[in-house]
Amino acid sequence: MKLYELTIYEAHGLLNRKEISSQELTRAVLDRIAAVDDKIGAFITVAGESAIKEAKLADKAIAKGDISVLTGIPIAVKDLICTKGIRTTCASKILDNFIPPYDATVISRLKKAGAVILGKLNMDEFAMGSSTENSGIKLTHNPWDLTRIPGGSSGGSAAAVAADMCLGALGSDTGGSIRQPASHCGVVGLKPTYGRVSRFGLVAFASSLDQIGPLAKDVTDCAILAGAVSGYDPSDSTSVPMDVPDYSSFLTEGIEGVKIGIPKEYDSAQGLDPEVSSAVMNARKVMEKLGGKCVEVSLPNTGYAVPAYYVIAPSEASSNLARFDGVKYGFRDKERKNLMDMYRSTRSKGFGSEVKRRIIIGTYCLSAGYYDAYYKKASQVRTLIIEDFKKAFEICDVILSPVAPTPAFKIGEKADDPLTMYLSDIFTLSANLAGIPGMSVPCGFSSGGLPIGLQMMGKHFSEEVLFKAAYNFEQATDFHKRKPGI
């Protein structure tokens, strides 16, 4: 087996027994990036030099017997998470020269655990999009079919994991941005409960919805990474002061008697591909064979999640993105000699179309005379969506659903039609509005050989239940073992 193909826990075993060094492992992964990323386009920045330095330090620590499960493991990071000394662009021209003076809390945590930071991954600009086509830097291709999108906005993260260009990755999820690309690239992804993982050092898109989470080759790795980055952080006032369970210790528990909710509204969702529907149906049968008890639940306001989201997220974004004004960091149009003109020109040249579209929608929804009709109304509907989930979780532990209505679509297919693109987020947005955890696990392939993901959602702070259910499902199937032929 090639070193870059290893999972985190396999590599950890070899490092622990001193059969390989972190330098060998890191070099193998860097060589892999050099060999295949021309075709995929997952990385914006490869931090080869600092990665090798960190690998040397990890090897020294291991020689002294100081090893944790992430010591010496090469991890890549979505390019909107601040990395001290490594350019962090948000895939935007407005930040393409920004070098953060500090590490995000998740990065400090990974470094403290001994992980090696390989580089920064492509995404939709400021995480706005479902295909990574909105990147202002480059295009990312799906490793399973290079003519297709990898999903988004964490498309670079999912593609890098699927193509073995890192052992695991971090992404962020505001409306499905971890789960949907994980589904399209056949990897495992978790959006944790809102407040579980610190957002300090995450460039904000929609602050009440954003959450950082892992993308990994399998459920075990996903649990390892989630455990490493979770936990209270005083630097993020929305981070929740609660202990984090040892996720890995729950994996091997059975799911006998676990109640699986099947939302009756999801089957009739607009545009649901029959192959996706049947893969999810099969997954349900697998869960039942494993001892899960399926119950029908109702989420009556499902159809309103998309419109509510596309008011709330752009409103928050329009406010968050006001800070990019050409004064403190990033691009400035130096041609303009008057402050107001400089702001306008800098922002107009720096932001791409989708970002501008959302800033305009958000500013409009928050502007005088429209606030009640749009923002307040959407926030009230958000309350009803949260109540739907509360009721559903009175009778079930995990909700099963598709992640995306179709497998990965062709590059360019929806690029000029923002509303159609938004509608493809139907199954994932609700979890962000409700703040609950959601996970994507491979559950099948289309007849064209494209991966299909299964979504599992749980109550607030019940990640361990999702990991247990996902691990049992994964062990009973072999979808996670297939690799794209890259």
Partner: protein, 95 residues
């Protein structure tokens, strides 16, 4: 139209964006579509429903008012497009 070209120009100005005629036209059509779709929210009865701005149970996060280590002025100015004497430089504000 829910949103007109003039609305787009007005809102773009509030958001400190400038746009050419083509983009204004394109945005007016696309954003009109999106807002019409958003208005399906009016089918939901939200009388007496409290709005949610934050999905979990935290309310206030207080900390003691104590000085903490910052990153240092030089580090924070490192990314400034223009700076002088330890300050951010901006173009002329008045006149």
């Amino acid at each position: 139209m829910k949103i007109t070209k003039d609305d787009i120009i007005h809102v773009a100005n509030l958001a400190r964006l400038e746009m050419d005629e083509d983009s204004i036209q394109k945005f007016a059509v696309q954003i009109d579509d999106i807002l019409r779709y958003v208005e399906t929210l009016n089918n939901v009865n939200t009388e007496c429903v409290q709005p949610t701005s934050h999905a979990i149970f935290l309310t206030n996060a207080f900390r003691n008012d104590e000085e903490r280590q910052d990153f240092g002025r030089d580090a924070l100015l490192e990314n400034a497009p223009e700076k002088e004497n330890g300050n951010f430089m901006v173009p002329k504000v008045v006149g």
